[in-house]
């Protein structure tokens, strides 16, 4: 091999980091395993594959829908990563999405915002969603610093409470249930007014990327800068690694815990608001449908990196879209789609072990 070729090879080696290669291989291996399972239940593998591709990258619509799904995963994942810098594990994304969705619906429907000018009709509900998320995250924070409740337990249980809160809201006509005109009226809210729906980026319904995307990109950049460059990021890390030394150095553990969980909550709430205003328009029981937990997994797989969260969120967004289409078109049961998703998570987590060994 000539010197030039060698240096070119080295440059490629440097660019293609082994961690990236290992991660991609893990996804491919899991995907192949999934195909084996599909074959085993007597669904035509080519049909399933083509349904999956149609549902993910088959059309501009599919691509945009997949990216829209990724938004919620990314926001919850970023929140997880921020809290995790302080060595906190926020598993409450699901509940934070739920309360965000409730708040956004309530404000959009009954907050009198529909007539306001210049984006306010959807900005105010989104802010309300974030505030609801902050409150939900802060409850866990207060429990942690006042009585030492482990945030894993409190955020998880708060999620259950929030998910049932959605159920209550849509079941009770006194809350958000739409007026009952007949016994067949579904237990859900009214559709939110058009001005409160998130505008499409392109204005083209065949490529329905919504405004949540640029918001999420900005948040990702800010979060990345915050963690890498800001004093706050350093203080979060200090508290995460050694709360005693940090507090001796004047960095308040309590403050950092509150901030970290509130920010994670805010992002979860925002995710719920964007799902509601950008896509679903109607609050229904179970509208959060596991997005919070998948976002948590995205945060876990990213192992501290915001870029990693984005990658994992996109992966999950496309997987979900493809999975839904496989179910609808090729008749692959939902359960199996979930199994494949699980397989990918497990192989990625296993791959992390090999990556660590290489480092």
């Amino acid at each position: 091999m000539t010197d030039v070729a060698l240096s070119g090879y080295r440059r490629i080696r440097e660019w293609v980091r082994p961690s990236v290669v290992i991660s991609i291989s893990a996804v491919v291996v899991a995907g192949l395993l999934g195909l084996v399972l599909i074959f085993a239940i007597n669904v035509s593998v080519p049909d399933a594959l083509s349904a999956f591709i149609d549902g993910t990258v088959g059309s501009p619509y599919a691509i945009a829908a997949s990216i829209n799904r990724s938004i919620a995963f990314a926001l919850v994942g970023i929140g997880f990563v921020i809290a995790n810098r302080a060595n906190l594990i926020n598993v409450g994304g699901e509940g934070q999405i739920a309360v965000g969705g409730i708040a956004a619906t309530a404000v959009a429907l009954y907050g009198g915002v529909a007539g306001l000018p210049a984006g306010l009709p959807f900005i105010i509900p989104l802010v309300a969603a974030m505030v609801a998320g902050v409150i939900w995250g802060s409850i866990a924070g207060v429990l942690k610093i006042k009585v030492g409740t482990n945030e894993v337990i409190s955020t998880l249980l708060l999620s259950f409470i929030a998910v049932w809160l959605v159920y209550w809201c849509v079941q009770s006509p006194a809350l958000l249930r739409k007026p009952m005109t007949s016994s067949a009226t579904l237990p859900e809210s009214l559709e939110i007014p058009d001005p409160t729906k998130l505008p499409l980026l392109t204005g083209d319904y065949s490529f329905p990327l919504n405004t949540g995307l640029p918001v999420t990109v900005v948040i990702a950049i800010v979060a990345g800068l915050l963690l890498a460059r800001s004093l706050f990021g350093v203080q979060l890390r200090a508290v995460g690694f050694n709360p005693i030394a940090a507090s001796r150095a004047g960095i308040s553990y309590q403050r950092m815990v509150m901030f970290a969980l509130a920010i994670a909550g805010a992002l979860g709430g925002l995710a719920g608001g964007i799902m509601l205003l950008g896509d679903q328009y109607v609050l229904k029981d179970g509208f959060s449908s596991g997005y919070g937990f998948d976002g948590l997994v995205a945060g876990l797989l990213a192992r501290g990196s915001v870029v990693g969260v984005i990658a994992a969120a996109l992966l999950f967004g496309f997987l979900r879209s493809g999975g839904i289409n496989m179910e609808m078109v090729a008749g692959v049961p939902t359960a199996l789609v979930m199994v494949i998703q699980g397989l990918i998570v497990v192989t990625l987590a296993g791959a992390a072990y090999f990556i660590r060994q290489r480092q």
Partner: protein, 520 residues
């Protein structure tokens, strides 16, 4: 002393690497039955690794060991124990909620236990070696010295042929050290061999039959008459001359008699206002036990007051309360005219109180973060603009400080955990001493685990701080250190001040008595 020619344990060219670090390199060593063999060396010289190789905790990369003439290749401590080698580690491994006898039985017997029989054996053994130990006492209720005796008796009950003690005297009172050395002698007289690891020369003079000196993992000197060749051994250990050492550092090490190095300025006629006034400071822990009982002390500007005492007699609580980490139950603290009693650590730092905590790793630094971040951990906000960290300035400033305080690291950006213990301590000291308007420095065990060069540097910086007018509270369990560095000494026992005296070698015995709880 009778000596057979056959060594009990022979090490031949033993080498152990950890990554790129060669902890023990080509070490050869003979240990004879019936001798007390001291292994001398500074921190990081490879003493503990050598012990761990003998005890089977580590497996050597190269070289061979022979025990009683046969190849000895332990793959774990249990192999060592079966062969008749027992070891007392630096850190005790006792179950605190259990009694002495239960701790001794642990790991020695399966199935049914006849506690009474064990108690009889234990008492006989204690009697043989001349120390008292209540078999039914709970470990929690024992002093550190007594706990160490439990560790020792756990080993002796196995009747080992080789008995290894890794830095056993670091936590003991002067009397207890003498008793321990006496036990070692008795064990050796019984025909077994004792390997005693230490960096204190006084112990070598008293107890050692032979000495092996390690430096940088290599055997650099041996002596069959250590008491006479002590100076040569020190030279080998520190690769320098005893006379070139900082005097306080030398006397702390036990070279020569403890000496009072510091000369206090003649007391001025007009009484200076006190820099620090501590009034009846009391700390009660969350079990309701009074850990610090009405501690009252005034420190003048430029004065160094030493706090002596065996560890666990309230020193940690004193430092914690003064530094804002623990809320005192009662009492007040004044810095000049300002009360600092209930301030947060942040406010205390802002008031000009520097704290070098005793537990460097738990309280002093965040080892996962960079040296630069650690060296300015308490004033990172001085390096921000709009909330963003100006890393370049931070790193430059850290580099300057590292140069001034001789903190040796590849770069300010590397992880704090990559520094040696001495350099970590110098970095913590640099941070606390360079506090803007430092008025009061609390230094707890500032030289623990440091080698001689680093010890001298730490003393130099503490003195420099006090020359600039700071009041200094030096908390240490090394009496020689206090005598060498402080102006006067207060002795803590069970949270109370037992007495107050000048830091003078002539007071050594009475301080020792106060440390053991006898009022003056």
């Amino acid at each position: 002393m009778q000596r057979t020619t056959e060594p009990l344990l022979a090490l031949q060219g033993v080498t152990k690497r950890f990554g790129s670090l060669v902890a023990v390199s080509e070490a050869s060593l003979d240990i004879m039955p019936g001798e007390v063999h001291c292994i001398l060396g500074e921190n990081g010289a490879g003493k503990s690794t050598l012990c761990n190789l003998i005890f089977g905790v580590h497996v050597p990369d190269k070289g061979e060991m022979r025990f009683r003439g046969e190849i000895y290749r332990p793959t774990g401590p249990s192999d060592a124990l079966v062969s008749g080698i027992a070891m007392v580690h630096q850190h005790f491994s006792l179950v605190h909620d259990m009694t002495v006898v239960d701790n001794v039985i642990l790991g020695q017997q399966r199935g049914l236990v006849n506690t009474r029989a064990w108690v009889r054996r234990l008492e006989r053994l204690a009697n043989d070696y001349g120390f008292a130990l209540d078999p039914y006492a709970k470990i929690d209720d024992l002093s550190v010295g007594e706990r160490q005796r439990v560790e020792i008796i756990k080993c002796l009950i196995r009747e080992p042929r080789l008995f290894v003690l890794d830095e056993p005297t670091a936590v003991l009172l002067p009397d207890e050290i003498a008793a321990l050395l006496d036990i070692c002698r008795r064990v050796a007289n019984g025909g077994a061999a004792v390997v005693l690891v230490t960096h204190k020369l006084a112990e070598i003079k008293k107890a050692a039959d032979r000495v092996t000196v390690l430096r940088g993992g290599r055997v650099v000197a041996r002596s069959d008459r250590p008491a006479e060749e002590i100076d040569a051994l020190v030279r080998a250990m520190i690769q320098g001359d005893v006379k070139s050492l900082d005097k306080s550092a030398a006397s702390t090490l036990g070279v020569g008699e403890p000496e009072r190095v510091r000369t206090t300025a003649a007391p001025s006629e007009t009484p200076t206002p006190e820099a620090v006034q501590i009034d009846g400071l009391t700390v009660i822990d969350n079990q309701g036990v009074t850990r610090l009982d009405h501690f009252t002390l005034a420190i003048g500007p430029g004065e160094i007051v030493g706090v002596a005492g065996v560890e666990g007699n309230g020193q940690s609580e004193l430092a914690a309360a003064l530094s804002g980490m623990v809320e005192p139950a009662s009492g007040r603290v004044f810095l000049g005219d300002t009360e600092t009693t209930h301030l947060s650590p942040r406010q205390i730092t802002a008031a000009g109180i520097g704290v070098v905590p005793e537990d460097r790793h738990a309280v002093g630094c965040v080892v996962e973060m960079s040296v630069a971040e650690n060296i300015f951990l308490n004033r990172l906000d001085a390096f921000t603009r709009f909330g963003f960290l100006r890393r370049k300035e931070l790193i430059e400033a850290a580099g300057d400080l590292m140069k001034r305080f001789d903190v040796r690291a590849a770069a300010p950006e590397i992880a704090f955990s990559a520094l040696s213990g001495g350099n970590q301590q110098k970095a913590v000291l640099a941070r606390e001493i360079t506090l803007p308007k430092l008025a009061f420095l609390i230094a707890a065990q500032p030289t623990r685990g440091l080698d001689v060069g680093a010890v001298a540097a730490v003393y130099g910086h503490i003195r420099a701080a006090c020359e600039r007018g700071a009041a200094v509270l030096l908390i240490s369990s090394e009496l020689d250190e206090l005598i060498a560095v402080a102006d006067r000494i207060v002795v803590l026992y069970r949270g109370r001040i037992m007495g107050n005296c000048a830091a003078d070698p002539s007071e050594r015995e009475s301080i020792g008595a106060m440390m053991a709880g006898q009022a003056r």
